[in-house]
Symmetry: C2
Subunit: 385 residues, 2 copies
């Protein structure tokens, strides 16, 4: 029986992770849950799952949760420190980090410092602090299981293969809702349009990132830190049906792909069941019914986020952290109609050329870069609204 | 340095196997070569590769070969017994069986009896004597490496995976040259038309088998004996571009596929390099350039060979051997314009219902079934020509 912590349990990935855990009660038990702001959902999850403790990032919700959970004798922690405290609890076997955005970074570091294997949905942790995380994995001999569908695909393709035989990682992407939109209409894209993803049903932040292709950009950096393949050997292919989740090309020209219907439950479950696989009765992929899978090269002009990600990865240091944080706050500002769609990559581009980049950053350096990036966006938003 | 025997060295697969071996002289050395009838090519190969011995099935060519090879002190054997003698030589590490058709069966059994691992292109060996071959593999603790592109794909997808987690094998097939031909034109198909395969460049026998889809039928039976998956969990999907070479669906719904350009050099090389992979500079698969991969359900009415294969596999015993041998001689008769295209599955169907089927056959039983099947076709051809 594995004891599990789920950080970010009320988000899209967290909820699916709970589904996987509760579908396999003979293997897993939930010990800790944390959420950002959604107290009602956290309370419901806590009453259903009876964890040892829960934490909520939003201090103002703590009392409500405490009062409701008192009869269940479930410990309640609050604030950023409450989340970090739960991430550091060592009486579990695996920490699932499903926190959205840069808020996931410090909990990741805490869990790895505590010596816990981690199933990571929070790609921002690797984007911002890939070097530090890899050092921690090595030092504490820990395993990191990717939950992102593309990286889960690559991980599955590499099972039993010698990583030295990788020639190329081929990350597929649906191309988002604006793949076929003419260039001159990008300036007018609204949050409502951008939130309508063609194949994946996801949270708001990642939906916007999928529309700008910044999500694919972050995945390039994530893939680099997970699989240690040089950026020039990471290729993006647009594949609108989202059936092939990603591929690996080996030195002999053989390509392995992992496929399936677009449903995050599979990569989440695989991260938990690895190296095993659990039988499920989800809908089956029917190729004759699907009919065709199409592919095209990504349009680097319409979607500057892709090149920005490659550039940040090449520049290294705090550059990916700046890219990530400026993008994140630009996305939030876009969702509040305070920035235009094309301002998102535009601001990232300017931040990367204007802000100081620190090489081989410490966590403190990254948190400072995060602060700078956030202020950079806020300043821009103030000036233009 | 691995010492290699290539049985059937002058055919399409044999020639490619030699290319792989000679491209990697630090790993492999050719020790024995055998051919059916092509003395000139065998002589050229022998002079270039300096094997210890060669054998030719066609007795009448032995003297010519002996005379030409005398200055090189290469031993020359001849006739069926010569081939079997070479297959039994134990001073090698791996036997590549690239013989075409049922003639490959006895050499397979000889090599496995001698205790040699085998890279098997001759699917007929498994189709006809899968049970015997599996017993030999188990008894002598030998490895069998599939060369067929579909089975190599499945094998690659299974690397590092637990076979107990297989839910389904998905064998892809191009659908052959007559995929879109209207039903009423099948009666008039000529050998010339049937030999024009849309994606693979292959020998005559397998090209006709690809046109009737009997090749896919044989592959179903081959897959059964290689991967021990029940027939109802083996699915055929028509995929005209031949880029996805086959797939495995696991119990969790995850599908792994192996892809690449249609070139037999890759599966041949993989069978030799396994578990490693050799770097090559073959043309790379460019998905954006390929544009689309399409899929459709196979048409069991136009291509009765598929159902015949499933039926023979269910019937078991000598039924698959009868299917294979009747098909083989019907193909040869078709190539000589002595049978029509639809006579090929038609004769197989009749043979399966009319000829005696022996359960758990010995090799002798299979050879007798082979004789019966051959006579069955010959009799039919005599009556109708």
């Amino acid at each position: 029986m594995k004891q599990i912590t789920i950080l970010g349990s009320t988000g899209s990935i967290g909820v699916n992770a709970i589904k996987v855990v509760t579908a396999n009660p003979e293997y897993y038990q939930i010990k800790y849950l944390t959420a950002g702001q959604n107290a009602d959902k956290l309370i419901k999850q806590a009453i259903a799952l009876k964890p040892k403790a829960v934490a909520i990032a939003d201090d103002s919700k703590a009392l409500q949760i405490e009062n409701t959970l008192r009869p269940y004798s479930i410990e309640v922690l609050a604030g950023k420190n409450g989340i970090l405290e739960v991430a550091s609890r060592s009486d579990v076997d695996l920490v699932v980090n499903a926190i959205v955005g840069s808020a996931g970074l410090e909990p990741s570091i805490r869990a790895l410092n505590t010596g816990k294997d981690m199933a990571l949905s929070n790609k921002e942790s690797l984007v911002m602090a890939g070097e530090i995380i890899n050092e921690l994995l090595k030092k504490n001999q820990l395993k990191l299981f990717p939950i992102d569908s593309e990286h889960s695909a690559i991980w599955q393709c590499l099972v039993g293969e010698n990583p030295a035989n990788i020639r190329k990682l081929i990350l597929t992407g649906s191309g988002g809702p604006f793949r076929s939109l003419p260039n001159d209409q990008f300036a007018d894209i609204t949050p409502e349009q951008a939130l309508r993803h063609p194949t994946w049903n996801m949270g708001k932040k990642i939906s916007i990132d999928s529309a700008t292709l910044m999500n694919k950009g972050l995945e390039i950096i994530e893939a680099y830190w997970l699989f240690h393949v040089p950026p020039e050997n990471i290729e993006i292919v647009i594949h609108p049906q989202s059936i092939i989740h990603s591929m690996v090309e080996f030195v002999d020209g053989s390509i392995k792909a992992q496929l399936g219907l677009p449903d995050m439950k599979l990569p989440i479950q695989y991260a938990l069941s690895y190296p095993g696989r659990f039988p499920v009765s989800w809908e089956v992929t029917n190729f004759a019914k699907i009919g065709q899978l199409t592919f095209e090269a990504p349009d680097f002009k319409k979607f500057p986020a892709l090149q920005l990600a490659f550039d940040a990865l090449h520049r290294a240091g705090t550059a990916p952290a700046i890219l990530n944080i400026v993008n994140e706050f630009a996305v939030y500002a876009f969702l509040e109609n305070k920035l235009s769609f094309m301002d998102i990559p535009g601001l990232v581009d300017r931040a990367l050329s204007q802000l100081t980049i620190v090489d081989h950053p410490t966590l403190q350096d990254i948190l400072e870069a995060e602060q700078c990036g956030r202020e950079f966006v806020e300043q821009h938003v103030r000036q233009h609204n």
